[in-house]
Amino acid sequence: MKTNPEKAGAGVIGLSFRLNGKPVQLTVPPVIRAVDLIRNELGQTGTKISCGIGRCGACSVLINGKLSVSCLTLAYQLEGASVETVEGLSDQNGVHPIQEAFLEEGGFQCGYCTPGMVMAAKCLLESNPKPSEAAIQEAFSGNLCRCTGYGGIIRSVQRACSS
């Protein structure tokens, strides 16, 4: 949905932040959800929406390096921030080693939770390159997957940190 300027009394603000390293400037109501801003205003649909209440992690992005649910983040909170979404991990030249590990180990099926899982993995491995099982459990405790039973995701993370 493009932002509706007649939205009941919301007004708009100028907002600037970095998305996957590139500066973004736009005018939006300050209280739209970051996930809607990313998906609808900026057309970056890799970030998904599933529960809308911060319980499933499908909308996970990194905000200033911290794993965050973008469904509970409001647009104004992005001001000046550095936001990283799944689109930032790969380019024409290839995929990120974490994504490669997900491919090799079957860390996804329907793929709808996968962008969030990949971001959670990146957040974990950047701070803890050799995570224990407990650390993996903790790192993914906010991300639900209904397809894999987590086996493939665990193997993906273990492969990513061994490679």
């Binding site: 057309g43 793929g111 709808y112």
Partner: protein, 744 residues
């Protein structure tokens, strides 16, 4: 073996894949559906005037705007698209709005004025079956009865030395696909309609929409793939009719993407059932008599309720040979949420009960539960559960023996109980029919072409919901034809481009892809080689299809591009039916898969919390087509069933949902699962078997609950009869004194 990366993998891990709910179109509107405020009520009046006046609203529709049949349902269209005078559950649609933004659409819903006269709420099968119950449908409150009898049950019971009887209660389970229902419906310039909405059977959606809209099927195109999960839940229509009606009303593309709460309210769920089983054995441990009554809460509308009950009835004695069987089932309308298709299809409920009986009986007669199963399990030549001839394999015994070995090994290595924790191990086995069963239209088919551009196109009317059908098609096609994956173009999920293959359900996709290739490859290879003979002058006997084209003397002699250039495409099609038993027994299955599950649990005596610490599944389903896909189905199915066993329950109170999202409806997270899920694929088939790989989409979910339940008994002596097993139930069981005092 190098693991094969899925054809859709790269797009998924990079986030580049466009799901149908990610699509946008120019001039697109957003829509929302107004659902009933009451689980049962008469609609006294309905006014949309104020909503229509809200700036930004482009259309509001009610029952008056449905041009043809105001009803849907895969078998019986008894669910109103938009209710006129009566609502039967809180997911019933009353009106729908298309507006310039989703916020305006939401505001407009609040402005629609509906006056209801609440009616008595029938919120359980017991109430629905009472003489005084209000009738929810013109035919009454019974959707379907099913049964099966063999032998003289009373005489058989009289010969039993031991009989156990138990009533098992199983909950309403949410599919919880991560992508909720949605997509975009686009009115095309030529008056046709393109529906970009996930489903498990595009042609069926086309048929259903055709009779709602009064449009010819050919004018409706369904693009139904990819999906962010389905598990049976998106087979029935969901938001398609509203999007279609609004798109036609406004002449603009209309997007609907349900919120999780909207999805919970309107989606189908797994049938809650109450199952009473009475089972008896003779002094040698032979099962003599097995009596089952099933009561299923099917909710407000039919959808696939009858078939699911039939399936449960068929599988009531599972893989065991029992002299006398008496099974009766009834599926009952209530004002609860609609129950329908869900991975396992009634098998999960009945298997939980049956395998609970086996452990209870073994304990009652003092023999090992494994031995009791071995004594009674079907052998290769035995008829199927309804007495029908089935495809002969020794799968039942093979999974039992595999699970038995695992059980023995794990039992020896069981971690010792600590002061406040007890550990246990349990097992269960099952068999599960694939395909829709005897007497049901179950067509399949596919098409193989050498296109003008040199691509080997393989097309099926299947959908990719995450299960990995694309990887299956790629694996089977490259193996059967001898070409490379790069040579292929796989086409699925678009009624404009694909042949009818039947539904992407009932563990039939893998099987039907393999069967199709067996039928297609001979003629295709022959035609390709004939053209190669024409172009090269070589003898056909020295040519074969290989990577990149036609090969001769160990190298590629002619690429597919050269073969195709300037020529008509080579097209080979096939249409056939899913194989069924030669015995005309309604709904009986023919191809079965088998599963043996060993579960280990740890029970916390202070909190009552149960942790599954190990889950091993042995599966007999013929050859593995794609190792990663197979493992994913078994592991993922197992964890979905773990949730069913320990945590998942869509709670309804007087017809209203008490659980509306993932804060109160809990599905397993990474902390709830064993880190090392294990499986063994038993691939052997008898010599001469020509049915190939069987599907494994469901089998991994079927026998997990009873294995965990039996492991809980092993840990603390608590016989589980109700799912999910909540910590409260564990603590209460200990207050009743069931705990073993001296567990070794």
């Amino acid at each position: 073996m190098k693991k094969k990366i899925r054809p859709d993998g790269k797009e998924k891990v990079t986030g580049r894949l466009k799901y149908l709910t990610d699509l946008t179109f120019p001039e697109m509107l957003w829509a929302k559906v107004l659902r009933s405020a009451y689980p049962h009520a008469r609609i006294l009046s309905l006014s949309t005037e104020k909503a229509r006046q809200l700036p930004g609203v482009q259309a509001v529709i009610t029952h008056e705007d449905v041009p043809a049949l105001n009803g849907f349902g895969i078998v019986t269209p008894d669910q109103p698209v938009l209710c006129k005078d009566t609502v039967r559950y809180v997911g019933d649609a009353v009106a729908a709005v298309a507006a310039e933004s989703v916020e305006i659409a939401a505001r407009a819903l609040e402005l629609i004025e509906v006056h209801y006269e609440p009616l008595p709420v029938v919120d359980s099968p017991e109430k629905a079956l009472a003489k005084s119950a209000p009738l929810l449908h013109p035919g009454g409150n019974i959707l379907h009865r099913a049964g099966f009898q063999r032998g003289d049950i009373q005489t058989a019971f009289s010969r039993c030395v031991n009989v156990v009887e138990e009533t098992y209660e199983v909950p309403r389970q949410l599919h919880a696909y991560m992508e909720t229902e949605g997509g975009v419906i686009v009115p095309e310039k030529d008056g046709t309609l393109t529906v970009y909405v996930g489903t498990q059977h595009g042609f069926k959606d086309r048929f259903q929409l055709s009779r709602i809209l009064g449009m010819p099927e050919e004018e409706i195109r369904i693009i139904s793939s990819p999906m962010g999960g389905s598990f049976g839940g998106k087979d029935e229509l969901n938001i398609q009719p509203y999007g279609a009606l609004l798109a036609l009303a406004t002449g603009r593309p209309v997007k609907i993407h349900q919120t999780r709460q909207e999805s919970m309210r309107s989606s189908i769920k797994r049938h809650p059932m109450s199952i009473t089983m009475k089972t008896g054995v003779d002094q040698n441990g032979r099962l003599l008599a097995h009596q089952t009554t099933i009561t299923a809460d099917t909710g407000a509308y039919a959808t696939l309720g009858p078939a699911i009950l039939d399936f449960a009835v068929e599988h009531a004695c599972g893989p065991y040979m029992i002299e006398a069987v008496d099974t009766k089932g009834v599926s009952v309308f209530t004002n609860n949420g609609v129950s329908g298709e869900f991975r396992g299809f009634g098998g999960n409920q009945i298997t939980f009960a049956l395998e609970g009986q086996m452990d209870r009986l073994a304990a009652a007669i003092g023999i090992d539960a494994l031995e009791l199963r071995r004594l009674n399990i079907r052998r290769e030549q035995d008829p199927g559960p309804l007495g029908q001839r089935i495809v002969q394999t020794n799968g039942a015994l093979e999974v039992l023996e595999s699970a038995a070995q695992v059980y023995r090994d794990k039992k020896q290595q069981m971690p010792k109980a600590s002061e406040w924790k007890r550990t246990g191990i349990g097992m269960a086995v099952t068999m599960h029919g694939g395909g829709l069963g005897f007497g049901r239209m179950d067509p399949a088919g596919g098409r193989l072409s050498l296109k003008e551009n040199g691509k080997v196109e393989i097309a099926f009317g299947f959908e990719e919901a995450g299960q990995g059908i694309l990887a299956v098609i790629e694996a089977v096609a490259t193996e059967e034809l001898g070409c490379r994956k790069e040579d292929l173009s796989i086409v699925i999920g678009d009624t404009a481009l694909v042949p009818s293959s039947g539904s992407t359900t009932a563990s039939r996709g893998t099987s039907m892809v393999w069967h199709s290739l067996q039928r297609l490859k001979g003629s295709f290879i022959k035609q390709v080689l004939a053209r190669a003979v024409q172009k090269t002058g070589a003898e056909e006997s020295v040519l074969s299809i290989g990577p990149g084209g036609v090969w001769k003397n160990g190298k590629c002699a002619l690429s597919f591009e050269s073969l195709a250039a300037g020529e008509e495409p080579i097209v080979v099609s096939t249409q056939f039916d899913f194989p069924v038993s030669p015995d005309a027994i309604d709904s009986a299955h023919y191809l079965y898969t088998y599963s043996g599950v060993v579960a280990q649990t740890e029970v916390d005596l202070l909190t009552g919390r149960i942790k599954v610490t190990g889950l091993h599944q042995s599966t007999a389903a013929g050859p593995v087509v794609n190792e990663m896909g197979y493992r994913g189905q078994i592991e993922g199915g197992g964890v979905m069933a773990l949730g069913y066993t320990l945590m998942e329950d869509v709670v309804m109170t007087e017809g209203q949902y008490a659980t509306e999202n993932f804060d109160s409806y809990l599905v397993p997270g990474i902390q709830d699962v064993p880190f090392d899920l294990e499986l063994e694929a038993i691939e052997t088939l008898p010599p001469g078997d020509h049915y190939g790989p069987r599907g494994v989409g469901e089998i991994g979910t079927v026998a997990v609950a009873p294995a965990i339940a039996n492991a809980i008994y092993d840990a603390i002596g608590f016989r589980v009869s109700r799912l999910p097993v909540k910590p409260e139930a564990v603590l209460q069981s200990m207050e009743r004194g069931v705990l073993y005092e001296n567990q070794s």
